[in-house]
């Protein structure tokens, strides 16, 4: 059923060779192939994953876009209607952070409702060799504060922070009152104790609404 219905559209943006595809591969399939030669994405690839937030199911529809400049003109196809954008930059390439800023501006201009997550990639390379770091962490957090975004540094090779990133995305979506209509209760999981089902009354109400609408997860 993956792909047939999507609650939360997530788009990955950023400079080519920035590690977007690896990030999605790690998250969706929990794999990383260091031997495989670099393959640039053509157009955009789509993948979906269902996650639980506060006992509710959110289907993340993830668009992994190509970083090449020629797709810039048509990037709107991919980010239009996105609820969240993971703007990736390579921690070992300062140019990629400049590119990330370009995307943030593009999103602010065209998709106001889209939450932005700044994602530094290839953290393992920086941990191996401190000198490899080209993007200063504090600089990124300062910038993030300015644009009301969050920063997370990840490594697709080790898997560090990858799930956490997408959990943040899902939580940000599910807990946003603006998305009430689309979030619904996870009715088929009785093993989850009711205490953890919802964190506050508002969310619970959301789940009730979702159920009454018949729901879109089957």
């Amino acid at each position: 059923m993956a792909g047939s219905r999507v609650d939360c559209k997530v788009v990955l943006l950023g400079k080519a060779y920035g590690g977007k595809t690896s990030l999605v591969e790690r998250y969706l399939h929990d794999r990383f192939n260091a031997e495989m030669p670099y393959q640039n994405t053509i157009g955009a690839a789509f993948g979906a994953k269902r996650v639980e937030v506060d006992g509710k199911i959110v289907t993340l529809g993830i668009w992994d876009t190509a970083g090449s400049e020629r797709y810039e003109a048509m990037s709107k196809i991919y980010y239009r209607g996105a609820k969240a954008a993971v703007v990736c930059y390579d921690l070992t390439d300062d140019g990629s952070f400049e590119r990330a800023k370009f995307w943030v501006k593009e999103l602010n201009d065209n998709e106001e409702a889209c939450r932005v997550y700044l994602c530094g990639t290839k953290l393992d390379l920086v941990q191996e060799n401190r000198k490899a770091r080209r993007v200063d962490y504090h600089m990124t957090t300062d910038y993030a504060d300015e644009i009301h975004a969050e920063v997370i540094e990840t490594s697709s090779k080790t898997g560090f922070n990858v799930c956490e990133l997408f959990e943040k995305v899902a939580e940000g979506f599910a807990r946003d009152p603006a998305n009430k209509q689309t979030v619904q209760i996870c009715s088929s999981v009785p093993q989850y104790p009711s205490t953890s089902l919802s964190k506050d009354a508002e969310n619970f109400q959301v789940t009730e609404q979702g159920r009454s609408r018949g729901g879109c997860c089957s």
Partner: protein, 569 residues
Amino acid sequence: MAALTEPTLPVQPLPPNDLEEVTPDDLVEEGAPGASEDHMLIAAESYEDINVAIDEQYHRGKDEKDKTKNEIEQSARELSIDDRSTTPSDEGRETPKEEVSSAEGKDRSNSMLGNRDRPQHVEEECYSPEWRQRQKHVFILSEAGKPIYTRHGNEDKLVTTMGVMQALVSFVQDNDDNIRFMIAGSHKFVFLNRPPVILVCVSHSVCFFCFHRFMIAGSHKFVFLNRPPVILVCVSHSAESTQQLLLHLTYVYNQIISVLTFSQLSKIFEKKSNYDLRRLLTGTEKFLDNLINLMDRDAMFLLSAVRCLPLASSVRDIIGQSIAQCKAKDLVFAILVGRDNQLVTVVRMKEHSLHPADLHLVFNLVDASTSFQSAESWTPICLPKFNSNGYLHAHLSYLDEECSACLLLLSADRDVFFELSEARQKIVTRLNKYNCLQAIRESLAKGSYKVAQIGIPDLRHFMYKSKSTAQYTSSELEAPYTEEGERHRLFGMYQYLHHRVHNSARPLKILFHVGSKETMLGWITSGFELYATFGPLVTKPAAINAINKLLRWIKKEEDRLFILNSYTY
């Protein structure tokens, strides 16, 4: 097929030169094997594009008058790549030297943009012996002389060489003429000028013929193709003819159009004539590389036809029906392609047909990238023959875990990804229900057919193109053509045969070529093209007898080897 049961060609020994007098048309005029009224694909003639290119004249402004003859002479010196020559016999054709040294391979990955920060004074690539010994070079440059692409090496290191090529092109244009190709000893340079870009192919080649307008410089032949706003040049020392090299350049040009569209390409250069096109082509080198490599070994480009995956017609019907039933809005084409560029089926909108040249680019897209194997993809693609100024939007996905068949759903609407994704899911369910995917996998695993199955002792290999359906079939390559060098040599022989029978100055209907390693027969009728390889000792009557037998076999098998009826939306 009553006509086929009677051997209509003389089986008695023919006088040596009489073979070309034979008119076998009565054999095939009606119902050539694999013929069909169905217009799934546009029946394409070999070289049709090139003829257009030759007819087109681009009279351009003379703002570059100051290129002097001295520069041209210097250019000839600089461009001379290798002085080795080959003899025009099948013996002399060299096996390709395509092993990329690891150093260069690494360099290549940095190509297109990655190395912009490098110092300007890099040594020109053309001084390195490995680079010079390459069998075929392809260069693309803008009309302003900026490098866009090189097949071998790094285009950043070829700034001077490309500048010289640009000078050559504009020098000839000053005389209201267009440079097409140039012979320099054993090398052939083919140019394709598509302002604002120039494509060049250099190949170390045996020159079969010369046509009007060419240049000889030292020991190399250049072929030029002018496609405003691009110039393409080919420098070759392979077995191909000038027309074949022009065909290569046309495909390379179409590949660029497929990525950018013609309107976008011309707009960019109208705005800024010295634009660095590599910025927009980042990531597409692999498609250009793969396309050029494919053209060196796959006959589909040469024949202007596609090869179908052999399938029982009942299975193919179910596949066609299943796809046709899962409609989606504005779906123009659905293409199912098996591994190794074998077409399973095409379902199309009633009023549209696909051109084989467009289908070749689709095959190349699937063939060149593994990135479609992991997820459903959604990408714009321009099919130059269908509409060179606009994009179609392609939903790409493999239908099973083994990645045996890739389904492309091409729509005019950019917002229908999820509709197509749903349609794709329904198609997969149906195909699994009727075991069609299993049948595809089995056919792929079995490969093509062995020539021994046909039961003709002297026949080693053949290629048969049905003209009306633009499809071809060929037997598996078996010993002695299993080794790479021999395979390459045989392909060169087919290119030679194809060149001879399609020679515009003196087209042949039938050609019997006796070589030291094999005997070959080329036969063109209004319904088909046939190229066959026999052992070296076969006689003409035996070969013709064998061909008649072969045609009967193809007729018998045509349902399996060709797509004779297609489905429409």
